[in-house]
Symmetry: C2
Subunit: 221 residues, 2 copies
């Protein structure tokens, strides 16, 4: 009796879970967390066909995770709210806390690529004091504005290529994003190295930095 309603409720919740149960859709959400994107752009970065991308996006929309806006002949998708990012982070947290495979993955990744070991927060604090490094925040602008590491430069990943000039080429760059397994900073480091920069990832993300009680800056306006 009351079980019916309860089951119906959980069935609705499960719609959210179901739609999160696919690597491509999670990747799409991650890209969308950087800002609004067209279907074509999303297809390109995710490596999926346009039709397939469109169908995944529609599932996300039916689950209420994304919304659309038409502009001329293209349709722009965006996350439907901040809480979607929170949800993705919650999954990331549980996954990294409980799935040993993830540590392995990151390990093999680090060992494959030439020394891409992340910089621990403590080390960064020291080097910041000596003014040795450029700190790069690759998260979307809104998140940067809400709070960031002291002195960090904000260049969202998508704009990195064109705004490279903002980074002095001789200084090592330490990139960070949302957490230890947020892929944005991986990509940023890869890109910077291609361009000849010395670049490494910060081991922790902004949330960890902040909750460790380390100094942060907030932009007011």
């Amino acid at each position: 009796m009351t079980l019916d309603i309860k089951h119906a409720l959980f069935t609705q919740f499960a719609r959210i879970g179901k739609v999160l149960g696919n690597a491509h859709r999670l990747a799409l959400i991650e890209y969308l967390a950087q800002g609004e994107r067209s279907v074509e752009a999303l297809a390109k970065v995710s490596g999926l066909s346009v039709a397939n991308t469109s169908q995944h996006l529609q599932q996300l929309r039916q689950a209420g995770l994304v919304e659309t806006r038409r502009e001329g002949q293209r349709i722009h998708y965006r996350l439907s709210g901040e809480d979607v990012v929170v949800l993705l982070d919650a999954i990331r947290n549980v996954a990294t806390r409980h799935l040993a495979e993830i540590d392995q993955l990151v390990d093999t990744y680090l060992n494959t690529k030439d020394n891409m070991e992340p910089v621990p927060a403590a080390e960064l604090v020291q080097r910041l004091k000596r003014g040795e490094v450029t700190v790069l925040d690759v998260r979307p602008e809104e998140e940067y504005t809400a709070g960031h590491l002291p002195g960090a430069v904000n260049i969202p990943l998508a704009e990195l290529e064109e705004r490279l000039a903002a980074l002095p080429p001789e200084r090592e760059v330490i990139a960070y994003c949302r957490g230890p397994y947020c892929v944005l900073s991986f990509d940023a480091v890869a890109e910077l190295r291609r361009r000849g920069y010395r670049a490494r990832r910060l081991e922790e993300g902004y949330p960890e930095w902040r909750s460790a009680g380390l100094p942060v800056e907030e932009t007011r306006h």
Copy 2:
């Protein structure tokens, strides 16, 4: 190149999502949030066969969401960490914020059952001042200890039947749990009414109460 690793990472994250994409498993997690339970007990409350329950639980275990402990001939399952509850809440939040169906569901539920309208926080504050009502916290003891409404009695749902004596029968009972759609308080109210109590749900859950700046108590020891 870097896409392989990224995809592998998201595939791991998707394992979590996939396992959350089923109403029965979400219900199992909800029950487990109340504390350790045997397979048989979980099968009973969820209305599934034992074999089916067992298989769902094993999926949850493979995804790292639950852990087991053997005691004699029965195996007790428990959530593998607090972060699993956080994750479930994140899903609930997104779902209720974006899926209109859920409000409808709850509406029809409320209209079906004789006036089960929830009590808004503001109303409870007034009635608490006049000492009219018993406030009942049906969450697990640990969550109650971490913080609860002022003067609330804690009886986890599973113990409600046996500890009914703790509730004065003539006073109306206002039950609450984690959020507006946490099913624990629905069940509690249903049970109390069966026993002849006047009982209603608090519209908000503890997190909403707290973040509204209303007074809370924390148990220290």
